[in-house]
């Protein structure tokens, strides 16, 4: 559309493009560095010689992880919480968003509940009462402690509710005339038309569950119940090696640096796998949620 472009304009175009590409690539450099370390020889790593390309390429770290029961146990806990937590989030979000998307005429208590949920969303009580509550329910050391406290993601409810409200009323009324009750209406009209929004909120909750570590840290007493992020947090950040005893032999081939880098990378893989979907749907989601005008 811009046919006549001056040379200087083109140069600026290239400069901007180049600059942004550089910025984009440097955003990823730390991740590349981690990958390179995980694939490098331990001597090269402790000598600080590894940059963006592995030095002394080997797969020892990954081989070690494959045989590391604790890692996979934690991985399993994470998968379980994603499935249970994500599923519960989905059902509850839909069930809560639908009545809230009704008019006050159809559902007189709608505004009251709306305010209650919004208040619940912005109310963030301190960690001590929160812990006392959950331990009071005897949920400590059960998977439910990771699933139930966040089972109703109110932000997602609001996104979905707004989406429901934008569905044309005609669809609604047509179904009504056919004698559909609210359950049928939700099931056969609203859900099928809301696939993109549902995909968005589901991805939101999956990523949230996968990434959270703190609830695992304080609500799980038994380290066998740690989800993967908590396991990694204890290992890499809090520096509590789970491998004493075998450590001496292990150190002959690996250092905790290379091994930790490999664990960080393996923990990233699920996110990298869903990243294409994330990118598509999250962007839509943030538009739905943040800039509703």
């Amino acid at each position: 559309m811009f046919s006549s472009r001056s040379t200087s304009d083109r140069i600026i175009d290239w400069l901007i493009t180049g600059f942004l590409l550089l910025a984009g690539i440097s955003t990823l450099l730390p991740l590349v560095n981690t990958l390179a370390i995980s694939l490098s020889d331990k001597a090269a790593v402790s000598g600080g010689m590894v940059g963006l390309w592995p030095v002394g390429f080997n797969l020892n770290s990954y081989g070690y992880i494959l045989r590391d029961d604790k890692f996979w146990q934690a991985f399993g806990v994470s998968v379980l919480r994603v499935v249970l937590g994500g599923g519960l989030n989905f059902v509850l979000t839909v069930l809560t968003a639908f009545p809230l998307s009704r008019t006050v005429k159809a559902f007189p208590a709608r505004n009251f509940f709306m305010w209650l949920f919004v208040f619940g969303m912005i109310l963030n009580v301190g960690i001590v009462p929160w812990y006392l509550t959950i331990s009071g329910y005897k949920l400590i050391d059960t998977i439910w402690a990771l699933v139930l406290p966040g089972a109703i993601p109110i932000f997602n409810v609001i996104i979905l509710m707004n989406f429901f409200r934008n569905i044309p009323k005609e669809l609604d009324e047509a179904a009504r005339i056919d004698g559909a009750n609210p359950w049928q209406l939700l099931w056969s009209v609203y859900l099928p038309t809301s696939i993109p929004a549902l995909a968005t909120i589901t991805l939101f909750s999956i990523v949230g569950h996968w990434n959270s570590f703190f609830d695992g840290l304080i609500l799980m007493n038994n380290p066998d119940n740690y989800p993967l992020q908590t396991y990694i947090q204890q290992l890499v950040i809090a520096d509590r090696p789970a491998l004493h005893g075998g450590q001496a032999q292990m150190l002959a081939q690996l250092s905790s640096n290379t091994l930790n880098a490999a664990k960080l990378f393996v923990a990233m893989i699920p996110i990298l796998l869903v990243y294409p979907f994330l990118q598509r749907y999250f962007i839509r989601g943030i538009m739905l949620g943040a800039v509703k005008e």
Binding site: S46, S135, H244, G245
Partner: protein, 563 residues
Amino acid sequence: MIRRALLTPVLLVTLLAVVLSACAGPAQPAQAPAAEQAAQPAATAVPADVLAAQPWRQTDAYSPLPERASLVLVKGGQENASLMPEGESIEDNRALQYIEDTLNVDVTFAWVVPSDSYSDKLNLSIASGDIPDVMTVDAIQMQQLTEAGAIEDLTPYVEKYANADILANWEQTGGVALQAATIDGKIMGIPNVQPQADAPIMVWVRQDWLDKLGLAAPETVDDVEAIAKAFIEQDPDGNGAADTIGLTGTTNPVQVPSNLHGFDAIFNAYGAFPELFYRNADGEIVYGSIQPETKEALTRLAAMYQAGIIDPEFATKDGDKANEIVVGGRGGIMMGPWWISWWPLADSVNNDPNADWQPFMIKDKNGNYTFGMGDYTYSFVVVKKGYPHPEIALKILNVQNDLSYGLNDAPQYYPNFNEIWTLLFPIPFLIEQPYVVERMATEYQEALDGTRDPEAFSEAMKLEYGQIQSDIAAPRSDSSNWATRMARLDAAKLLAGGYDEVRTDPVASRVFSTDPTWPALQKLEEETFLQIITGAKSIDDFDAFVEEWNNSGGAALLEKMNQ
């Protein structure tokens, strides 16, 4: 310092490595035959013929519970579970079974966590009001639980059910141990007794590196600095890279006892005793961290840091990160107590059989060896209120003592008992003779000199003596033989050679550690010391720190103490 010991990661590691002086057991049986005691109801688990043959089983200290009872415990050490023998676990092992059968009790664990998480997890359990039947706590937790009325008063049980060894070991602290466990005239917990040898911090240096660079053994702080400088600059490992760290350190520059990678010895060499409450020349109780000598020592440490002698990143490193330096062959100096040859230095020898670590003590400016000593006692076993058999805690400790020392026919199942005892025992807890380490070193030396008959040693000591002899014959061919020799003989002998001690006042340390203002004072101190050493604050800020410490409640507490 004192009770912080339990709160910090190092201690439980200590417990593991400190290797229950499974030795030096007193020659006489722990308990006199049960003549004076009325017979207890027979236990279901112990057959009558055994009872007849082993009358000690019917004494107060060992009598089985009348009916099988359950006991819920909690435990650290999960990270070392892989050290357990094939087919055994923390939850199920022969030592535990022996205890269960002897006392007619079923032990279960509400949770088993890594050692460093134990205290945090226990605090969470206390917060949730869901505590185990018996647990090991620190002074603050004991105080809180007592105020809460959540634990049993053990006064009626302690004297009656502790066996003779344990009573004697408490006795040897001059009554300090039981006094520390007493709140408002009631004994609320069973106190530990820490071997005193754990407090002095030695400097361990790689002799092979010293020889290679033609350096003499260190005697003073100046020597340590010179050696560290040479190690950094002269490539002692000959790998052609300037990758050697001088002096290692962690986020805990000071901590009594057993501070791995701690700078305590350097403070002590300046006549500074940070984190201790001791009486000065005027007989007043003072706090070591705010004394001018501490400022001098900090000045020196800051200069060493500035010169690159101390690991530039020590202030953000935990023990394990610092261990990696010495185990990985990137450092040739490590500060620590007598037992660090077992852990982590044995791993260093495993990786590199040339790593000839030797312990040395540092002289202070007057040419003496002087060390700050913490409390004998800083942790306690307590029993949940309402547990029907509060005496079981004492009985378990008695049986554990037998298992450790091979008394009362307790079976010796494990050749590597010293490395795994904290995992085997349901309540890993030391009530030791305060000077047992020094005494054993002397006895081993006498045996080597031929003035003592090693055949008279207990089974456990014979095993260690054999390890010592093997390593003398073929140095460092086996890392655990080497570790035992270094700890039990070379390092412990240095301690047996004598040193002066500056001892913390047990009352003052307890009053401070349970005061509500203490955590904030401590945070201020930790932060200030680290910042001064790393140069983020100048040494002149020390005076501001002292003023702030005094104004934030420290001075008032000291004044109260001195009245």
